[in-house]
Each structure stands twice: as C-alpha cells, then as structure tokens.
Symmetry: C2
Subunit: 287 residues, 2 copies
C-alpha cells in the first residue's frame, strides 16, 4: 500500500465489504497507514539504529526528533545537525522513506543505556512504577513550571476543537491525536498517528525543531487514554496541563502528581475529572 512515488501517505484506499445488519455493499474505504520507521543516529564516523517504531508516515523528522528528545537521548536543538531520509542507492525504493538519519554535531553518539533499559535490560533501580518515576529524576527530568491557570470551560471545549481538526481520523477512524493549545485555548499544532506515543513524539519534535521547548504555557490534549509513557513525554517537554479524552492509568496519575503536572481525564461534553494539579484550573468551590 505504497503510493506510486514510493512515499507512503497518511492513509490508503482499500476494498471493503460493508454489512449493515441486512444487506451488503462493496465499496472503497480509507485506512490509516501503518509502516515501520527506523531511526538512525549518526555522529562523526558512528552510525547506530536506535529504534524501529510502527508509525503513520507524515511527520517523520518530527517523530525522530521528538522520540529522541523525550527519551533523553537528544538534549537540545543545538546538538542536531540535520535530519534526512536515508537515500543510499542500496536502499530499495519502498524503504527510502522508512529510514531517517539523525545527524549530530558532535563526533560521538550519546549514551543509549537509558533507551536500552527502557526496552529490554534490567534497571539497576528496580522494576516497579515508583522506581520508574525515580529513574526519570535520575535522567534529569524536573517538575514542570507553574504555568498558566485556565478556566474549566476552556478545557472542556478542547475536544471539539481537536475533532474539527483531525482530518485523517475523520476519513479513517483509525488515528490517535495529540494537540497543542495555548493558554487561551487556541490550537497551535496537531499531530496524528496509529500509535498514541508517536503522535505526542511528533508534536514535541515539532516544538523542538521550532525552538518552542519547554512548552511551559501550553496545554496538550490526547485523543485517547493517558499512560505513564505519555506523561513521561509531557514532563520531558515541560507541559504543565495534560488532558485526555479517556481514562488515565494509575502510573500516569502518580507521575503527574510527582512532577507537578495538571492531569484531567474523561473530557466529555462539559464534564471532566481532575486527577492532579487542580490549582491550574479555575473551578467552582466544592459544594
């Protein structure tokens, strides 16, 4: 399902048999594209593959930059010399746009221990949620800044603004989104992906590459649930308010409380729940 130019699109057309309870119709429908992306880091004479992630094509440089930043591998925009697709002659056409090279200014690759530990190696500090949160401190993550205080109605209005802008989702029903708003509720940027972690990596990568980090006056809205991994990325990007259309996990709430993030969930109509950091939301006094 690759476009003719060899470059995969964000969605593709497919044949579907549609059943409505009584009759069958054959038609063409759109699917969210899912393709692997290999992220390579290069510095001096060193090259190393640091991750392969299944993603929706479309903001690959942002995804690579945001992933590396959020995982603590890339410290700042200044360390970056450039990001390119791998256009080596030996790479087959259908793979060209599935490999990105992240070129660093220095001569040495950064320590990738943290990244490896994240995936398959034992952590010295143990295996439990509390230890995970402590490990983030060890990596240099700090509580987010005080940031803005916003009206409850402003937060409640964000999902409708997101829905109006989720173009690929509208055509496929198959994408997660992460949307960045300013403190007045204006939509700044939105990124979509089959993986919810990728959508947020793309958004943070966009901010990194545009010199906007930390996002200390901003609100992020997640189209689905809020997990530990997503809160960890929000803290890395300095985001003070995280809203999720669905439920947070226990560890997402723990992490938000530890790092001073305002976390709201179940944004439905005029309603939502606040799990952490209520001081940033102007709420009526409890009855």
């Amino acid at each position: 399902m690759i476009s003719e130019q060899g470059r995969p699109g964000t969605s593709v057309e497919t044949h579907v048999v549609s059943y409505d309870g009584n009759s069958v119709a054959e038609r063409y429908d759109r699917l969210a594209t899912e393709e692997p992306l290999e992220i390579r880091m290069r510095a001096g004479r060193h090259t190393r593959t640091v991750a392969i992630t299944m993603r929706t094509p479309g903001a690959d440089f942002e995804l690579a930059a945001g992933f590396l930043f959020n995982e603590g591998v890339l410290g700042s925009l200044e360390e970056l010399n450039g990001i390119t697709y791998c256009l080596d002659g030996e790479v087959a056409d259908e793979q060209r746009y599935n490999i990105v090279n992240v070129d660093l200014r220095g001569d040495e690759l950064p320590q990738l221990d943290a990244l490896e530990r994240h995936f398959t190696t034992t952590s010295a500090c143990g295996v439990c949620g509390k230890a995970n949160i402590e490990a983030l401190r060890g990596r240099g993550l700090v509580p987010v800044a005080a940031g803005p205080r916003v009206a409850a109605a402003l937060l409640a209005a964000l999902p409708d603004r997101l829905a109006a802008s989720q173009r690929v989702f509208a055509s496929t029903g198959g994408l997660h989104a992460a949307a960045l708003f300013d403190a007045r509720g204006e939509l700044i940027a939105i990124r979509e992906d089959v993986g919810r972690h990728n959508a947020l990596d793309k958004l943070v990568g966009w901010a990194l590459m545009n010199g906007k980090l930390p996002l200390r006056d901003h609100i992020v809205l997640l189209s689905g649930r809020a997990s530990y991994e997503l809160l960890q990325k929000a803290v890395a990007a300095g985001i003070p308010i995280v809203c999720a259309v669905s439920a947070p996990s226990s560890l997402a709430v723990d992490l938000a409380r530890e790092f001073g993030v305002t976390l709201a969930g179940f944004l439905r109509g005029a309603r939502f729940n606040v799990y952490a950091g209520r001081e940033r939301i102007a709420l009526p006094a409890p009855e």
Copy 2:
C-alpha cells in the same frame, strides 16, 4: 499504589475532582493499574531479561508465556518448565510481583535475535511493511487453517457480550480487552490490560498454558483498533477470525490478507466492515 500485601491489583482507588460543567464534587474513583513487568528467561545456568513491558497486573504468567510465544521465542508448552515470580531475598517487596522467571527445560536460551530486531536493530530484510510480513514467513508463521464459517449476526453480537464481561473496564474505563469466542459465539476467555498488545498476549498465553493452541476454531474480538502487531499475534496463535470494535491499520489488513485471516472492523450495533477473508462469514449476496 500498591496493595498492602505488596501485590499490585488490577485497579486502584484515587482521589478525583469531578467537574460537570457547573459544579465540583470530590470523590474517590478507580484507575486501571499500570506497572512494569520484567520477563526473564532461564535455562540451565543462563538468565536473561528479554522484555520489560508496562502492563496491568493480574495474569502475569499468561502475559509472559503469550508474549514469548507470539514473538517466536517460545515454540510450545513442552519447552516450558515453569513460570514463577522472582522471590529472591534481594528483591524489594514492591518489585516481587513485577518480575517473572520463565524457566525452560533445555540448557540453553533460545535465539533472541528476532526479538531484538523487533525493537532496536536493523533487519537484514529491510524496513517496510512488506518486509515485515516476509520476515514473519521467515520466522515460520504460516497462513491460518480454514476454520469455521459463521453468521454475520453472530459477529455483530460479540461486542455486547464482551462489554458485559469487561469488569475492570466497567470500573475504570481504562482497559483494553481481548476476548476469545468459539464458533457459536460463546465466550471462552477474556483478558484486559492497559496495553492492547498485552491483552492479546495474556489471552494467547492462557491458551498456550491450557494446551489449546492453535486456536483454529475460534474468534478473537479486540476492544479497540487492530494494528499490525495484533494481527501478527493472532496469526502466531492460528486464529482464523479477528474482529475489532474500531479501525484496522493498513498493515493489519495487508497481514490478514497475506496469512488468510478474516478481519472485520468497526463492529457497531448490527454493522461491521470486512477487510479480509470474507469467505468465513455468511453474508447476504451484494445488491
């Protein structure tokens, strides 16, 4: 958010500020537990950590077995000597139930190359969806057996049966589910998790440990979207019919078509779409 016994539960209670558009109420609500699980393999004198995954506690041995089977690391139940929690004296209380040891009968650990490639290493066969699918053939995955043929109305009825059984989801709103049905639509088993891949790993692990693989006469229903990763696990377990409440991705459809899986999506009310393998569903003739 650990229970008093040191063993994490599937959900935990937390303090919530609930806003309904007009007023605020403070109350306690339940969250789906998210905690890391470290999976270690042991054979003879060898021990190795093969994965750390964020999961909802509760079916950890099934999760470990299913993950290793679905990734092609564990070939059959016969290779397994036992699965235990790591109760070494040196492991802190809050970590005991976050580490499982998978003990093999042999003296050597299996090749873990495929698993590593899956996460961070370059694949020799390239980086694109088509190559991913070819790599599965290389790993020995084969098209699923012919399996059953079922009525359209039977498939359409499955989401209600799943919803009636999703207990932790009902209390937290924060869990994915994978449910196994027989060809008459009877619910056989259901597993839930904050990670959709974990829910299916748990289900397949249950089948493995109960001698029920391959699941050649069965239907799996996924509570969310269907990605490449989930279809890959379904093929590994030999499941002929996969249904998803939400959208499939492009690569999930490609994989279903390549391996002969019936894939239905958007099961809503009496409706659904069929993306692959329509021959297993008794449908009215197209108009």
